[in-house]
Symmetry: C2
Subunit: 346 residues, 2 copies
Amino acid sequence: MVQIPEVNSNIFYFPQGHAEHAYQPVHFPADFNIPSQIPCRVAAIHYRVDPHTDEVYAKLRLVPLHVSQVRFDDDTVGGIDNMSETKYQSYTKTLTQSNANNGGGFSCPRKCAETLFPPLDYSDMLPTQDIFPMDVHGETWRFRHAYRGMPKRHLLTTGWSDFVTDKLLVSGDSLVFVRDEHSDLHVGIRRSKKRNDCIFNFSSKRKLGPSYNRLTSSFGELRISDKVMGIGKVKAEDVLEAVRLVVNMQPFDVVYYPRVGTPEFFVKPSLIRKALQIRWWCGMRFKMAMETEDSSRTHWFVGEIASVEAVDPACPDSVWRLLRVTWDEAVVTNMKMLNPWEVEIV
Amino acid sequence: MVQIPEVNSNIFYFPQGHAEHAYQPVHFPADFNIPSQIPCRVAAIHYRVDPHTDEVYAKLRLVPLHVSQVRFDDDTVGGIDNMSETKYQSYTKTLTQSNANNGGGFSCPRKCAETLFPPLDYSDMLPTQDIFPMDVHGETWRFRHAYRGMPKRHLLTTGWSDFVTDKLLVSGDSLVFVRDEHSDLHVGIRRSKKRNDCIFNFSSKRKLGPSYNRLTSSFGELRISDKVMGIGKVKAEDVLEAVRLVVNMQPFDVVYYPRVGTPEFFVKPSLIRKALQIRWWCGMRFKMAMETEDSSRTHWFVGEIASVEAVDPACPDSVWRLLRVTWDEAVVTNMKMLNPWEVEIV
DNA sequence: ACATCTTGTCGGCCTTTCCGACAATGCGT
DNA sequence: ACGCATTGTCGGAAAGGCCGACAAGATGT
């Protein structure tokens, strides 16, 4: 679900989108005269780990470009081509209730098992093996990987429960398996939006996993910081600083925590171009893939464009959340303003 | 069971005893003219950890003394007195079958619990608490400590099984709790003689504890080295080098792995003196505390002195294993030659 | 030798985890 | 719209772990 651009590719940076990732209201000074979207080159990407929650976030160095430098049909620039596409293989799955309910194991999607895990001996009637992925702290875990049941499916059993308990995973959180350039297997997690919004209720009952010291020793700090970070993960001043630099055509850094329901504030030119080629109008019908209440599954929701207007009167030219929509299913209460590139016309 | 002398105390060093701790036969050159026992001052003690097996061993620096320098009724020397007695509090217990049989918990001796663990709230009908001892690798473990049952006893329950599995403990291995100078609780282990003598049969089934990488990654190496070390843990050449230095009155280092059934090769002067004051003779009856087959309990065995003679004709003056004995219970097959200070007259 | 204290072992019971059956979902045609 | 492939959920079964009863062993008198 997460789209991190590649190094040296071009993106459009949306200050308004960036502001939505702050945990404080961001008040842009009136005299800033902010462009609604600024083309930038991605100069560098660093992946970091939040030591408290194990969450992975990205730190992007963006270099502002002149509009003339950007071709909307080509997302890359510079001498390095898209060969870096052949980098890591990874698979992300959102945990179901059964996965997290300590009931037992993790039903592993076939694609995940077949592309990332060592091949099983299918000549065996009940093929099993142990996989040893490493988490972001360098801790190695053991999961028993079996292919069984009727119909046959891939499962992670022994060891999974310990992982869930140690990482305090609940249904809705996501699991990421990655095979790196040395073809070593890694495992990461991403907490669901809900979890991000609430204070951790930490109560590990098992053997101290690697997270014990970390989580408890900084418990007080964690409570406070998480309480404050109700909406996003970055400071308002960091957003303002980024905007200050971008309007002066200075390179700047942004931190991006992937968050379900909060769109990325950097978007590929080709995506925007394709979206803006459409003449959006009231009454147009669209669909959008969204995760269910507990993020355990994705579902296509259908709706109708209610109006097409800039969200912020101060930025009348901005296409950020240009579309005001209504949904066929009343369930979708929030999410009334969408980016054109988030939806698909039906 | 293990008696490590204190720094600055005096001991007698027995080359023959040292040789028994080698895994190879030690052939003392005839021209060495080895004294059977050399008084030494313990200049330094360093405790080390075998990274493969978690075993703790001691490295002692010994400085040879002239006999005139040693008073047999006083084990210490130098300005530092026995105040260092008030150093660490510790308790060692050999694991019973019930302790290791994964059946559940660890029945904790009263003395251990009351002297080393934080005090329980005995006003509570079922007092429980969690203790967090640290192992030699700096890993913290959690054990649930309860005082319950009829009659009441101290037990370690939750967390214990994981520890047993991770450390590959079996009945006969020993557990050591230590409270250090910062009153922090530590936990160590000592493998039984049997385990030391055989190749590890490693087959961890649970989550990878901290030992996993260590034990598996060096599996091959471990097999080999353990196979060779059938009897002791040190090289024959190390023993020879120690003896070479000691006869020249040079300071030397010895490594001591505590081993059930293999007596220490450094002994307090007072102990030797007391033992040699007795006129040992055939037919004298004695008792000796020894551990049972699986080291789960200690039992007093009774026997009779069969003869009093030097084990090695080349060292006719040596008191090392001076006593040839017979046992009342036929069970005690090995252990036919004992040191006078190991037994107690009845 | 006896009384008392301590602690090893056992079987019962409860919890956790493993497993295939079945069905709901999703995708391709 | 239908069929097939995939995978979420459920309840039974097996394993693991917690518990007090009991008694064997240890200790002190």
